[in-house]
Amino acid sequence: MIEVRDLTKYHFGRPVLENVSFRVKEGTNLGLIGPGGAGKTLLLKIICGLVEPDSGNTFIKGQKVQGLALQELTQLRFDIGLLFQNYALFDYLNVTENIAFPLRQAGKHTNKEILKMVQESLNSVDLPHIGHQYPNELSGGMKKRVGFARAVIPKPPIVLYDDPTAGLDPVTSSKIFLFLKAMKEERGVTSITISHDIEGIRDICDSFVLLNKGKVVFYGSRDEIENTQLSLARQFWHGFSDDELG
């Protein structure tokens, strides 16, 4: 469903991603872990064509993302939902209009249908009464959930989550992981999840990629990472710090 092949990206002459390759099968969730500054967010942006890589390609449903015309890229993006690390809510629109934005752009529904769908999605993220509020009036957890609602409302078959629980309290975090789980089990979406919360993604991800300094250090299934002897992967997985990070 998603394939990344030999991706390399330089930033001011320094490589930030080097020969990154992996695949995500349909209906599975890949956990992308690694220390801060390893290039995880950049990788997600390259996958959906927001950033051009210097070499290598990404494929979505077998279609090469790089070199697509703007129209085709737009078409492709209807199939991808992206939950941004810092929510990226439009701060001049209220919550309802934020969530409605992708639907209005798609232009397939009437205003009445859109408002109904927005209300349903607000109910599903447990925030039924905040439609009239603006993003700057919301707490971090609420913004994250609104961002989540906006990313998944067009029912895309692929959803990419960039650190969905960063800076949230444990209760809200577990709620968010429940949403992620429901997305996978009920809608069968394919996804990539960046997270530092190993406990949280242990159960919802099927395979894992550990990225360090722009390189794939580990790529394998849950069983494989549980039993790996690779010290960096063990540190990350079990939270040890017996050895210096990278």
């Binding site: 959906c48 927001l50 993006r77 992206l82 810092n86 990226a88 809510l89 439009f90 701060d91 992708p102």
Partner: protein, 284 residues
């Protein structure tokens, strides 16, 4: 954390670059760099301008958004323009009147010549400089913070093209509003000049409000300038805003870059249109 580091870095880098390079290569670098920068910027700006025009003609029409932007531009700058252009009118009448008193003692043409100069030159140009300052920086800062908070990427993910969605309404609104504000500015400046002429030099209003010198040519030149400025300023400001990188540092950088580039563009366009206008006038 990395942001703070960058905040301290640039000055050190500037100085390091200069001392490490040899004198000759530093000299050529100093000449070449601005040329490369200007060529690249002009290229990018013309590309953005063409895409914007394409969307203006063929894109979705969103009149509500355009009206909202027009209100924003007018609301932000009308008082500012009234104050600055009012003072400009007083200053110019004062200087001109003072000089005329010394040389000829004849002030009957003061108002008529002032109006002509105001329409051809100072009205559109100073208004545009003020709008570049007030509105241009606002646009650059606004779009810049949308870029650094990923809102522009989010827009792309929702299949909304940022140029069509953000630049086009600002472009249309500014094109209209600069013309409107220029007319307002000329009126205010002319009236402020009338009061100054009356209080300082006893020029009565009947003599001052003499429209004898103004021709269609002056009006056309003034409006052409206003039109050109109104199209250039939002393109430069939006370009600066959309190309922000590097957090809050970057937003500050884009804002300053937008004032400087837009003001410089206004002066350059002024020169070009004035020159062409002169040639046209000389031919006919």
């Amino acid at each position: 954390m990395s942001n703070q580091k960058q905040a301290a870095d640039p000055r050190m880098q500037e100085e390091n670059d200069q001392s490490s390079a040899g004198l000759v290569s530093a000299f050529f670098a100093a000449i070449g760099e601005p040329i490369v920068y200007v060529t690249r910027t002009v290229k990018e700006l013309s590309a953005l301008f063409l895409v914007t025009i394409k969307y203006v003609i063929a894109g979705k029409r969103r009149p509500d958004e355009v009206v909202a932007q027009m209100f924003e531009i007018g609301n932000r700058s009308v008082v500012f323009i009234a104050v600055t252009l009012g003072f400009l009118g007083m200053i110019l009448i004062y200087q001109a009147g003072f000089q005329a008193m010394k040389i000829t003692g004849d002030l009957t043409l003061l108002g008529a010549l002032f109006l002509q100069l105001l329409m051809r030159e100072f009205g559109p140009t100073i208004t545009a400089l003020m709008i570049a300052t007030r509105v241009g920086t606002g646009m650059a800062a606004e779009l810049g913070s949308m870029v650094v908070t990923d809102q522009v990427d989010a827009m792309k993910m929702c299949a909304a093209e940022p140029i069509e969605y953000l630049v086009v309404p600002r472009f249309i609104a500014s094109t209209i509003m600069v013309i409107v504000l220029t007319i307002v500015a000329v009126l205010i400046s002319y009236l402020a000049g009338a009061l100054t002429a009356y209080t300082a030099f006893d020029v009565n209003f009947r003599t001052y409000f003499d429209l004898g010198f103004v021709s269609y040519f002056d009006i056309i030149i003034g409006l052409t300038k206003a039109l050109a400025y109104g199209m250039t300023i939002p393109i430069i400001a939006c370009h600066a805003g959309l190309n922000v990188f590097g957090g809050s540092e970057g937003v500050g950088r884009a804002t300053t870059q937008s004032v400087v580039n837009a003001s410089l563009a206004v002066v350059v366009i002024d020169f070009i249109i004035s020159g062409l206008g002169y040639v046209v006038l000389a031919l006919f």
